[in-house]
């Protein structure tokens, strides 16, 4: 009886998901270990397919891991189960998290549930998680964000997506794309649910060497709490919001005026509630995208070198006439077939960036830029970066009355709304694939700096541009606003997110 009910639940989810292709596998058994008292009791949660689950396949949307089942649960999955959550299944994504439209997937593209018949992309790489949440297929979903992979699909699908500070959420059991950037985060329809799930997975894990210790977590949290105390209540007086001028590139100002209008509208509201709107400059932003692609590809080429078809995963056996002169030639058979186009492209780029001739000019240069980007952020925030500064609480207190620096930054999450799938799936040479990368321009700086960033849906500003008929449908599509905070001040980002959410729903 129970079994029937359970398999019905899986079947029904499968059926509901059919138009979106958000899920790639479904949990058939109930989690009996939950004692009914956990904070996530009654929560159904989708888990991105690059996060290891024991008992469900973990394919990373790659032919390479098509039949792979992990022998263990990722720490985040364990924590969710412990909190009483029900894992409903694994969600679609771009292969190994590489992509921003969720079109590079073994399981096919994800359709944006906002209006499924208009066949638009859900964004990526956590497109399945985002769509599953948007379509109401689960209460929340785990995603991973390496350069915007949670925030971008959240923006396209009209949901809330949090990329926490790097080092807060365990990466143990998360399939690496780029170890220094990969961050596990949460997507849900509202900030409250995001926060609830985040609280359950925001735990130090000794299995993850990059998991930050309690002392630094507490230190940053203390600073965030102090900042919130200054402006809590209905009035936002005391909250200083920075608007980084570099985050309004030509792509945004020319073609997508409605995004600009919406964010102006939002800032107007925030200002009227008492918040100070402060224009700031993050001058290294222009270089961030290039640095990001060098670092992410270099680490990707390294992290993905373990897929050789020897111990697990796809293996293409050599034929008698194969070239056996070196081991790597045997490997190339499996790797050529197992990896998709986008992954191969990044592996090749990353391999080049790490080669002896290119290392200094590419990889080291990118690391220098990364530091500059981080310094930019540290420069504009009033809250110090507890990871890098020899900060003491006394110094902070002395600065309390000063007005230098902002509490958080706000900028549009993306330079456009969800594109049509038919446009982006066109693999003819005409399509400018560079556009896909430019889209990341707004999201990668926070990734490079490991900062908490959350995309929250904005209320579209319908008062403008009514005349442009051909763009009209675009204007109704969801757009997100990103809130970026200093390292470890995720609580502050969530708090500001709630304010914006309230304003947008009015």
């Amino acid at each position: 009886m129970l079994r029937r009910f359970v398999s019905n639940a899986a079947d029904s989810l499968r059926e509901k998901d059919a138009p979106f292709n958000a899920f790639v596998s479904f949990e058939n058994s109930l989690n009996f270990t939950n004692n009914g008292k956990g904070p996530l009791n009654e929560y159904s949660i989708g888990v991105k397919d690059n996060i290891c689950t024991f008992g469900l396949p973990t394919t990373c949307a790659s032919a390479m891991l098509q039949d792979f089942e992990s022998p263990f649960d990722a720490t985040v999955v364990k924590l969710l189960k412990k909190a009483g959550a029900q894992i409903s299944g694994k969600t679609n994504c771009d292969e190994f998290g590489m992509g921003s439209l969720n079109i590079h997937s073994l399981h096919g593209p994800v359709l944006n549930p906002f209006r499924v018949d208009s066949r638009r992309a859900a964004g990526g790489s956590s497109g399945g998680s985002s769509a599953a949440v948007a379509a109401g297929l689960c209460d929340a979903a785990l995603g991973t964000d390496t350069g915007g992979s949670i925030r971008l699909p959240a923006s396209y699908c009209g949901v809330v997506g949090l990329k926490p500070s790097y080092g807060l959420v365990s990466r143990y059991g998360v399939v690496s794309y780029a170890d220094s950037l990969d961050t596990v985060g949460v997507l849900a329809q509202d900030v409250e649910r995001v926060e609830k799930v985040f609280e359950c997975i925001n735990k130090r894990d000794c299995n993850d060497p990059t998991s930050v210790d309690e002392r630094l977590r507490e230190k940053a949290n203390f600073l965030a709490t102090k900042s919130i105390q200054r402006w809590s209540g209905e009035s936002l007086k005391g909250l200083r919001i920075g608007i980084p001028q570099e985050y309004f590139p030509a792509e945004l100002t020319s073609s997508s005026n409605h995004i600009l209008a919406s964010i102006r509208h939002l800032l107007f509201h925030l200002h009227s509630l008492g918040a100070s709107i402060v224009p700031v400059s993050l001058p290294s932003t222009a270089y961030a995208l290039s640095a990001y692609y060098v670092i992410a590809s270099a680490e990707g080429s390294s992290c993905l070198s373990r897929y050789d078809g020897i111990r697990y995963g796809l293996r293409v056996p050599p034929s008698p006439e194969s070239n056996f002169t070196s081991t790597s030639r045997t490997y190339s058979l499996s790797r050529s077939q197992g990896f998709g186009r986008e992954v191969k492209k990044r592996i090749l780029l990353g391999t080049y960036a790490l080669s002896a001739d290119a290392f200094d000019n590419y990889f080291l240069q990118a690391q220098r830029v990364r530091k500059m980007v981080r310094d930019d952020f540290d420069h504009v925030f009033s809250i110090p970066n507890v990871l890098y500064s020899k900060f003491s609480f006394k110094e902070k207190n002395a600065n309390d009355h000063g007005v230098d620096g902002v509490d958080i930054l706000i900028h549009p999450s993306a330079i456009r709304t969800a594109p049509r799938l038919d446009d982006v799936l066109d693999v003819s040479c005409d399509r400018d694939t560079l556009q896909d990368y430019v889209q990341d321009v707004l999201t990668v700086p926070a990734s490079l700096s490991g900062l908490p960033a959350m995309s929250v849906p904005m209320q579209p500003d319908t008062g403008l541009n009514q005349a442009r008929d051909n763009q009209q449908s675009d204007e109704n599509w969801p757009i997100g606003v990103s809130i970026v905070g200093q390292w470890g001040t995720d609580k502050l980002v969530l708090k500001v997110g709630r304010v914006i959410e309230r304003l947008s729903r009015r």
């Binding site: 992990s70 170890d179 990059t210 373990r306 111990r311 490997y331 790490l354």
Partner: protein, 511 residues
């Protein structure tokens, strides 16, 4: 330096040694380290097999053992160092990269001194890295099997500057390094088992000229092979450079030593050298070693062999203990089993055993007893030295019975043998009593118990029992008397006083 020239050529040698760290767990995974006799793939976990989602976690025990080596080699320990990934595709490298310390090793600029080399050898750097898996190739079936037991075990790579001038110096270095690392508990340094392997760089040049092009001979697993490889390389390079009228030069290449043909064989030239695409490991970050921690490791270091030897000489030579005696004990300690993770020995080494036994007793006689009787009987039984057969306390009791003349030396030997063959928890005196080996001390004379009458009785019986020996003695072969004495001792279970028995025997024979 001219005394080291070979046919007018100066030889320049540098050595990289890879040493397996004797830790119970691997360098970045919690899997147990393995010995050669463990069945394949029984000592590895998901991380060692490079499963997706696994992450490294540094084993601090490996780090502390590495620090011992660095301190003993007089290196400066870098407060901050880091780990890098060295990429290459090979079946013994599950992740497609090895985690090593390419850009910033944890220890640099050390020196190694040995009285047999005569000048200090500079240590360029010491780095921590992962060992590879093992692949077993079957050429007949054209298949290869992979054993992950060794994959990820902690290795120390100790790199010297090219300071050696002769193969003998190189051999001396490797042997002393082996001994040093064993004494520190860092590694068991077993070359046959592969826990110590060498890469040797060799070049030759005319004195006064810049160094020649070097060739590297990789993965040598015995000192004998290393000496042979160096000698072969010197001759090979010499013959290239001495070819008359030729402008041929030695080309930079990687070679291996073939123990069957006793030659080095080319593996690849410099042009084919792989690009390892070194990248800082983004998971492991910066390794910080505080001065405080380094000092704590230094304080907990076991003493180095040279200083132990010196101390023993200073303490005991005045009591008549010889250098030779000390070396016997120290050599025993060199081959003893190394404990895991540098733990303080629960098993007591030969040196410590001697020192504990000598406490409050005459060191010279304790030394003689241990070396001549204890070690002798052990080797007769084919057993290596160990304190577990007879504890320090038991040995002390045994020695005290001899010293207080409650037992004769021959009786004590008999008892010792019995204790080795069938160990017992009983007190030694009790054992001796059970075996009826104790001398019943005559309180007045303090002489051994067997009185003259009974001894005379036994002696007379010996003359009847051993007519041939007695005849020989009478014919002047006096040494044969020892055989007869031996018979008497057996009869009396060693209770007879040897000198007295001899006197009585002589008296009887000359009657």
């Amino acid at each position: 330096m001219s005394r080291w020239l070979v046919d007018g050529w100066q030889v320049v040698i540098g050595i990289e040694t890879h040493v397996q760290i004797k830790s119970s767990q691997k360098l970045f995974s919690r899997a147990l380290t393995s010995a050669l006799n463990h069945p394949p793939n029984t000592r590895c976990n998901a991380f060692d097999a490079a499963f997706p989602g696994t992450l490294p976690r540094l084993n601090r025990k490996c780090l502390d053992l590495a620090l011992r080596a660095a301190l003993a080699l007089d290196c400066s320990v870098n407060q901050c160092s880091s780990f890098d990934r060295k990429h290459y595709f090979y079946s013994d490298q599950p992740a497609g990269y090895q985690i090593t310390q390419h850009y910033s090793p944890f220890a640099v600029n050390g020196r190694f001194t040995s009285p047999n080399i005569g000048f200090p050898i500079r240590i360029k750097q010491i780095q921590l890295e992962q060992d590879t898996a093992k692949s077993i190739t079957n050429t007949r079936t054209r298949t290869a099997l992979i054993d992950l037991n060794r994959a990820g075990t902690g290795l120390l790579e100790i790199v010297t500057e090219p300071d050696f001038r002769t193969p003998e110096q190189a051999a001396e270095y490797v042997r002393s390094l082996q001994e040093l690392l064993r004494a520190l508990g860092v590694s068991d340094g077993n070359m046959e088992a592969g826990s110590l392997r060498c890469d040797v760089n060799i070049s030759i040049n005319r004195p006064g000229e810049p160094p020649g092009t070097r060739c590297e001979v990789k993965n040598i697993n015995s000192v004998k092979f290393m000496v042979a490889a160096i000698e072969y390389e010197i001759r090979r390079q010499q013959s290239i450079l001495e070819t008359p009228g030729s402008t041929q030069r030695v080309s930079q290449e990687t070679r291996r030593f073939d123990p069957d043909s006793w030659r080095t064989i080319k593996m690849r030239s410099k042009e084919d050298a792989p690009d390892y695409r070194y990248m800082p490991d983004p998971n492991l970050g910066v390794l910080v070693l505080s001065e405080k921690h380094v000092e704590a490791v230094r304080r907990a270091m076991p003493p180095l062999p040279a200083s132990t030897r010196l101390r023993l000489l200073r303490t005991y030579s005045s009591s008549g203990v010889t250098e030779n005696n000390i070396d016997v004990l120290m050599n025993l300690d060199v081959v003893r089993d190394i404990t895991y993770d540098g733990a303080t020995d629960s098993v007591i080494g030969a040196v410590a055993y001697f020192e504990l036994c000598a406490e409050g007793r005459d060191p010279k006689s304790v030394m003689n007893w241990i070396i001549h009787n204890f070690l002798g009987q052990l080797s007769a039984l084919g057993k290596p030295f160990s304190s577990k057969y007879i504890t320090v306390a038991q040995m002390g009791q045994l020695l005290d019975l001899i010293i207080t003349k409650q037992m004769t030396r021959p009786s004590a030997k008999l008892l010792l043998k019995q204790m080795l063959v069938s160990p017992s928890d009983l007190a030694v005196k009790q054992l001796a009593e059970n075996m009826d080996l104790l001398s019943t001390v005559d309180e007045h004379s303090k002489r051994s118990s067997i009185d003259d009458d009974s001894l005379r009785d036994v002696c007379m019986r010996s003359i009847d029992a051993l007519p041939a020996e007695v005849a020989a003695i009478r014919a002047g072969k006096e040494k044969v008397i020892n055989i007869v004495i031996g018979w008497i001792m057996r009869q009396t279970k060693g209770k007879a006083d040897v000198d007295r028995a001899k006197d009585i025997l002589k008296e009887l024979l000359h009657q």
